[in-house]
Symmetry: C2
Subunit: 311 residues, 2 copies
């Protein structure tokens, strides 16, 4: 039921996923209002053995206060989804609903992985070669300390390596200049920590102009900056599409292609979708969830941060 | 001599300016190495009464340390330019040279206007309707306090009003959400100050996606974020141009059209150009300097901040 166009687009996305992946064994649990979904269920009628509709009678609105809404609406799709995820009845949970509720729900149900100071929301950013970089944090942590950015770097590096198959991903610090010593106080304090970190392949600072380049696979920054960049990229996409520009890089700027932004550092895979997600975005999120589950990234994070802590 | 393509592109820009503004009474003083400029001076040979070549035997490199370079190179075009500006022998100074040296030169020669805590670098950002918004700070002040952002808001508002002729410009705070109370600590602390400020027309928060929209004429943020956004916009322009996309908004994303970024809050007009400025950018900077001089924005700033201080 999450997102502005639920349940129609969610169901359509599920239909698209099933039709494109006929041999995939994944079973989807759809949390939502059966009555509202009824009109669209015929779209997935041929796949009844591949999904289960789990009734959720409440909906958390896009502008509701996350903590309050989760407490007061235990029958919402988000609350039920996290309940199932926590109980291990599903392997990943995704929604295009209230971002704050998704973040709070993750923190209070499955919780942060031991050793993780601040779980983070990461967003793919397209390169001109058709692949993607990973930018994090993009909004979960508006204000950060150097040690948070260091963990983002490790989380992002592991994610890109395990889920996307990039061997030895290059990690960079977003900054306003390339030279060491440049930047605001946070960047200046973070640089030496990243440089000394043996768990990542740190290549130094990158600037705003390098986000779409092949300089780094993982770019770390404070959530405030990352959020502003993500939304700016989105607006650039929308402006040019509205103006009738057709271009492959422009297509890859479309968040629908990558679908959503995973929360990294919590005890199970969670993906947050855009509020205005159409079918394609839902399909893409389900695909990414599949890759995340196959890579068992949560286990990789757990092992990494327990050993990092111990050392 | 500033910029990667000096003096060729600078002289070509001057030629373009003279040819497009035959009736303008402006006299240009060109600071540079006469020998290096010699090859290009024929381009402006018909305008010898409109310019004066002022010899400058030294050049501050793009990667030199600003303070050190200014001290050790008193015969550089930047050092001489600020000397002339301070002495009142020119009404405005522009260069595509070392940004840091331009900022430091301004601070140590003409200095900040009394009452200004932190002079700021502002950048035009194109709207889809062909006009521009003003984003500030874009890099002079990586870390800011709320009172700095408030002054940026007043400086930007006055600039857009006086130099660009926008009556009652709308001023917004860059943030990661629209609602009051959203944001990092800085944005949360700045919002109420802007809201209570009687000198500006504050319309609240805008997000990264609103930079190119008509929501606000002036968008204020910390220099770290603004710099990242400016460079990201620049890269978007370059990527699409390289990919052969042709579009009017894309054209307006080109910094060459607006030329450079003025320093606001110092005792005389200064414009910093991009290091890779071609002729068009130099021409645009000279035009903007003309508008700044005509609007007598420095006097407007002085009056505003002396009265604001007193009240």
């Amino acid at each position: 039921m999450g997102g502005d166009f639920a349940p129609e687009e969610a169901v359509k996305g599920v239909a698209q996923y099933f039709s494109e992946h006929p041999d995939n064994a994944a079973h989807l649990f759809l949390f939502g209002d059966p009555e509202k979904a009824a009109a669209y269920l015929p779209l997935i009628a041929t796949y009844t053995d591949k999904y289960t509709l789990v009734p959720a009678s409440q909906v958390i609105g896009m502008h509701e206060h996350p903590t309050k809404a989760l407490k007061e609406k235990p029958h919402s799709s988000i609350a039920i989804g996290f309940g199932w995820l926590q109980a291990g009845k599903v392997d990943a949970f995704l929604s295009a609903g209230n971002t704050g509720a998704m973040m709070v729900g993750a923190m209070y149900s499955i919780k942060a992985i031991e050793g993780i100071l601040r779980p983070t929301i990461a967003s793919p950013m397209p390169r001109t070669d058709g692949t993607y970089n990973l930018l994090l944090d993009v909004g979960a942590n508006a204000d950060c300390k150097p040690e948070h950015l260091v963990q983002f770097a490790e989380l992002g590096s592991l994610y890109v390596q395990r889920v996307w198959g990039v061997s030895e991903p290059r990690v960079a610090l977003l900054n306003l200049g390339e030279e060491e010593g440049k930047g605001n106080l946070l960047a200046q304090a973070t640089y030496p920590l990243l440089k000394a970190n043996q768990n990542i392949r740190f290549i130094g600072n990158v600037e705003g102009r390098d986000l779409f380049s092949d300089k780094a696979h993982v770019v770390v920054c404070e959530g405030f900056v990352g959020n502003v960049m993500l939304k700016m990229a989105e607006s650039i996409h929308n402006i040019f599409v509205q103006r009738g520009v057709q271009d492959e890089f422009l297509t890859h700027l479309n968040y629908e292609i990558y679908g959503g932004t995973p929360i990294l550092g919590v005890n199970a895979p969670v993906i947050i979708g855009h509020g205005i997600s159409p079918a394609l975005a839902f399909k893409s999120m389900i695909e990414e969830a599949g890759r995340i589950i196959s890579a068992d990234i949560t286990q990789a994070f757990k092992e990494h941060f327990s050993s990092t802590q111990a050392s």
